[in-house]
Amino acid sequence: MNLELSRRTFIKRAGQAGGVVMASGSLGSLIAACGNTNVAGPRPVTPGATTVAAQGLMNPALLQWGADYVSGAPYVFQDPSNPNHLIGFEVDIANAIANLMGVEQKMIEVCYANLEQALEANQIDMIMNGWEKTPDRLKTELFSEPYYRYGQQIIVRKDDTRFASITNPSSVAVLAGLSVGTGAGYKAQVIMEQYNSTVTSSSQKINIVAYTGNIAFSDLVQHKLDAFFLDNPIAVYYVLGTGPGATAIPQLKLLGNPINYDNYYCAFKMGNPNATLLLPEINQAFDILKKNGTLKKIYQHWQMWTPAAQATIGIM
């Protein structure tokens, strides 16, 4: 089992709401309607629809999505008992979408830093790997609707009395003056650095310990740190041991609900005619999966289900 976590660069501002997505989706259907008579436009979502068209795929029988499985738990990672088999909540989502489309799904392994290049080079239909909207990415990529609303989770020791009175932290200010671990380049690090820049006294600043490679939760258990602060899917996976290959760490607990919410999206290549067809189809698939409870079941299985947050993006 490889405990290394994925390297992801998060940029400061969260993206704008799905206005661009809606605009591009409707524009795409307009162009399709006004232009080719061969191409069938996306079907409107009818209640009870159980299939989705699969027009925009490069390979009509295969949904090829890009992700990085190296230290990618719980997004997509190798089953420890069978390394050729990939598991993870994004694998589950891809399977659900592919079922709706009547096609197979295949994850194309791309190093996380190269996912954008792979999309540009038309090696994949879309990116689905915990991808957020950032101003830079909006210039070259189209985004689907959000499929998960994630937050940053604080992890502390169970017997730590300083947090005994806090049931749900309101912001990262609760970690003022403590040593907090996170992954290098994670959005959590950016959030903590932003907080530090607003604090003047150095004793109130958060001492950020960034791990490149192995994120050693044992450091928190052994009192070398005061807390961890990182994305809630990863926090839940390692602390509660929600999947194969993870053992629960009984000395640690999740401190309340996640904070600093943002969304995960699928990304498509702007200007690719296939992408303009595929994007509304993926959105339609997400709509169906949100309403018929499949996404909820997947997130419950991976213990990532936060009802209040997911309701804001339409997952019932």
Partner: protein, 289 residues
Amino acid sequence: MQQTLTVTELKPKSRPWLVIFDILFYVLLAAFLLAVIYYFYSYRGIVALDVPVMLQGAALTIFLSVTSMILAAIFGFIGALGRLSRFFLVRWIALIYVEVVRGTPILVQLFLWGYAISGALTQIGFNPYNIAYQFMTLLQNNSLMPDQVFFNAVFWGIIGLSFNYGAYLTEVFRTGIQTIDRGQTEAGLSLGLTSPQVMRHIVLPQAIRITVPPFANYFITLVQDSALLSTLGGVIELQETTTSLASPLSSAPFTELFVYILGAVIFLAICYPLALLARYLEGRFAVAY
């Protein structure tokens, strides 16, 4: 000529009561060995579970080391020829290669090859896994191909290690070539031997005598440095198996410590015989003809 003098051998003042500790030491040593055996016996479940996995890792370690050493010898030979070249530019390039590679940490170089250079080449489209896969398809044998991430990591790891050790071997080969007196070659040629014969019967035996001992020592260091490949993602050699078997055991600290010790013991089992071999070779090759 040696002077034969009868000199009464001077011994430092002997303290016989301290010698009693010698006997005590042997007794303690026996007790310590028994304790070690008992320690391993008490964890025999873990041993039975983990040792097979670690031995697979050790097999990969040995494969990595041998392959890297062969490649490093090639790099070293080319480097040595470059260092001794007639052309100023070639000498300079070789010198920069040797100085930069020997002056920077091997870990940084492994990161450079495994992440930066492999990333840049993948963007251009060069993927060693694809080439190997095609090659194996030609041989109609690509069921033996491991997974792509593993193959790429091992590939770039071997290149990184060989590049690093090639610089050290450059110096070894250069010393070996330079130490052979030109007069030997001239004498051989004047006696009517052809150039290849001179190389084979006169120059190489002497060169081998000089280069093999440091070569053997570098091989041992290479086996140990192959453990650094565990920091690249995807190379499942001995150190990586040890870490991945030990880290989940954070709730059983003594067992975790035992797994780390087990990994170290297997490294010992690989490197100590090699060290004895290296010392034997050193002794054998120290005697001139």
